[in-house]
């Protein structure tokens, strides 16, 4: 079943078409990479899929529901319940420890559960860094905290905008391995990247140019894989 469906989506700033008639379907459990030159509209697309922005025109169906009709409060609830976000700049809260940064996501979702948050940190290999502040962590470690935060509430969809953009090769590999695990567990992943290797790890690569989807390569049939137990 299609988890996400974009039909004739436009995002227009003044007379700039940041997204120009985008059609895209992402199935449950699929791993999609979005590539394209700078300014081609990748982040704009991610913001719309991530329910942080609305299209100027067109339909965005998430679980069959059109987000264009949602209030900003409704969008917040969808983000909370269905989406995990990973950022190039990590965006950890600098006065909270690694563990607390994960728990914040639990807190606004339902109930903070220290044990579960600890499990998530162990999973990304940071069990011994739980009490550290972001400033005491390396970039790779911070990105792994960010991944732990994104997956803690078992989202249907994980969105990552340039997740490896600030990482060295070793850390890029660690993060990619984590994505692979999530994918194996059936989590749907959409990853924006400039990095060919990150793109190659995905099942399908979508290329954007001037706001238009210019190509879509990959094995789409694989994406039909059912979601197994997550996290």
């Amino acid at each position: 079943m299609a988890l996400l469906e974009l039909k004739n989506v436009y995002k227009i700033y003044g007379d700039l078409h940041a997204l120009d008639d985008v059609n895209l379907t992402v199935d449950e459990g699929e791993w999609v990479a979005i590539m394209g030159p700078s300014g081609s509209g990748k982040s704009t697309l991610m913001n719309i899929i991530g329910c942080m922005d609305k299209p100027t025109r067109g339909q965005v169906l998430l679980d069959g529901k059109d987000i264009a009709n949602e209030s900003s409060r409704g969008l917040t609830d969808i983000r909370r319940d269905k989406i995990g976000l990973i950022f190039q700049q990590f965006h950890l809260i600098n006065y909270l420890t690694a563990l607390e940064n994960v728990m914040v996501a639990q807190y606004y979702h339902s109930m903070p559960d220290e044990k579960e948050a600890m499990e998530a940190l162990k999973r990304v290999g940071l069990g011994d860094r739980a009490k550290h502040l972001p400033s005491q962590l390396s970039g790779g470690e911070q990105q792994r905290v960010c991944v732990a935060r994104a997956l803690i509430n078992h989202p249907e969809l994980i969105l990552a905008d340039e997740p490896t953009g600030n990482l060295d090769e070793t850390n890029e590999k660690i993060v990619l391995d984590l994505f692979r695990q999530l994918h194996d567990e059936g989590t749907t992943l959409i990853v924006v990247t400039h990095d060919a290797e990150v793109g190659a790890s995905a099942q399908r690569v979508i290329t954007l140019e001037y706001g238009k989807v210019t190509s879509s390569h990959g094995d789409t049939s694989f994406g039909k894989a059912a979601r197994k137990d997550v996290v």
Binding site: S43, M52, T76, R79, H91, Y95, A105, Q106, Y108, H109
Partner: protein, 429 residues
């Protein structure tokens, strides 16, 4: 989690929070100082007023009519009508007897010393009396003339042997007569004359400096006015006047029964006057209003000034706080954007920020309160020579003001939070 986040901010962003607390402390200290002084200044001024003499004078009705008609108060010091001495004890039997701090009768006459006419005033200095109620009390002029300077000798004291036939002489007259403490002065009054020892020489800074003061009985003897007095001065603790008391002062009979009850049973100057008239036959009791009222007006103006200073201080700190908080929220825009992105509602984020700020504000307020209380004492000692009592009203008022000012100062910051678009702050474009 909420409190872990609040704690995180408070402990790991000490510098910024300390700045906000400091700004609030400044405003709170000024507000505390001004409010404390304001609440206490009324009592202080009343105390000062009381030490400067009686609030109420009781005179015979006729004398009052004459002085009202000709508007020449005290033009003739020699009275033509009198009150009865044996009614003096009644002063302490009125409803507000406990509010009467002190009182003293006066009678004056003209005596002749070596061909010179001199006014002689008889009064109580330290008079012991037993009331019909069985109460014992001391009354007299000593505490009501606390500003008199007895330059040589001492105050008279009726309870001392021999003082009944001694006199006190005003400094100017003493100079003219060339008399000193212990000398004898020969004088002749309307009924009697004699030679009296000078117990003390006083300096009052007024007409009294050329007069003689002596025990009431002695002056009555000399002038032949046994059992008569020309006025009574009463020092009383009173409640400040309001609309009701002013209305009553004009004509108590125009009040409704309920109003009359309230008025009669409140220690207004006018109701005490009224009650004094009830117990002293053919008398008129009047508040020494001129002083009281102008002091009251100054008091009002001083308090208004303090209110204005307080308001300005609070507006100032609200602006300061508002700048600091808004700047801090701007700095934290990525954090706030992130919270929104992971599903926090606007209310939740606002509640988080407001909780942080209120905690910081109350801390700052507590520090400011302590400082302000100290500041109030400095004002108290430099202006009134007395400490400023802490009115129980001040604490809740300052807490309320701190919260209101902080919340008002947070409005722009909260608006920033509401407007903040997570998509914009999270993807560093």
């Amino acid at each position: 989690m909420f409190f872990r986040m609040v704690k995180g901010v408070l402990f790991r962003q000490k510098g910024k929070m300390a700045m906000i607390a400091f700004t609030i402390a400044l405003g709170a200290s000024l507000a505390t100082a001004m409010l404390s002084v304001m609440y206490d200044v009324g009592d202080k001024v009343n105390q000062e007023l009381k030490t400067y003499g009686a609030n109420i004078t009781v005179v015979p009705k006729e004398a009052s009519v004459v002085s009202d008609l000709y508007e020449v108060e005290g033009a003739s010091t020699i009275p033509t009508s009198y009150l009865k001495e044996d009614e003096l004890g009644n002063v302490k039997t009125i409803f507000w007897a406990f509010n009467i701090v002190d009182f003293a009768p006066f009678v004056s006459t003209e005596v002749n010393i070596d061909g010179r006419d001199v006014t002689m005033v008889g009064t109580w200095f330290n008079h012991h009396m037993s009331l019909p109620t069985g109460e014992e009390l001391d009354a007299g002029v000593v505490s009501m003339r606390s500003w008199w300077d007895v330059a040589s000798g001492r105050w008279l004291d009726e309870s001392k042997d021999g003082d009944a036939a001694k006199i006190m002489v005003g400094s100017q007259l003493a100079d003219q007569l060339g008399v000193h403490e212990g000398d004898k002065v020969s004088l002749k009054g309307d009924a009697k004359g004699g030679s009296y020892e000078v117990a003390g020489v006083f300096e009052a800074g007024g007409d009294e400096d050329s007069q003689i003061y002596a025990p009431l009985d002695l002056v009555q003897d000399i002038s032949g006015t046994d059992g008569l007095i020309s006025s009574i001065e009463v020092s009383a603790i009173t409640t400040p006047d309001n609309e009701l008391s002013r209305q009553a002062a004009k004509d108590p009979s125009k009040l409704t029964v309920a109003q009359y009850e309230t008025w009669y049973c409140t220690a207004y100057v006018s109701s005490i006057c009224y009650q004094l008239q009830e117990v002293i036959t053919d008398s008129v009791a009047k508040a020494v209003r001129q002083v009281a009222e102008s002091e009251g007006a100054i008091l009002d103006k001083t308090q208004l000034l303090m209110v204005l200073i307080t308001v300005l201080a609070l507006i100032g700190s609200a602006l300061g706080i508002s700048n600091l908080i808004t700047a801090s929220v701007m700095e934290r825009s990525q954090e706030i954007g992130l919270l929104k992105a992971i599903g926090a509602h606007d209310q939740a984020i606002s509640a988080l920020l407001l909780t942080e700020i209120i905690i910081v504000a109350l801390l700052g307020g507590a520090i400011g309160f302590g400082a302000g209380y100290g500041f109030a004492q400095i004002i108290g000692y430099s202006v009134f020579n007395a400490s400023i009592a802490l009115s129980p009203m001040v604490i809740p008022l300052v807490v309320l003001l701190v919260i209101v000012v902080t919340l008002a100062g947070s409005i722009p910051a909260i608006r920033t939070v509401l407007r903040l678009d997570p998509a914009e702050v999270l993807h560093g474009r």
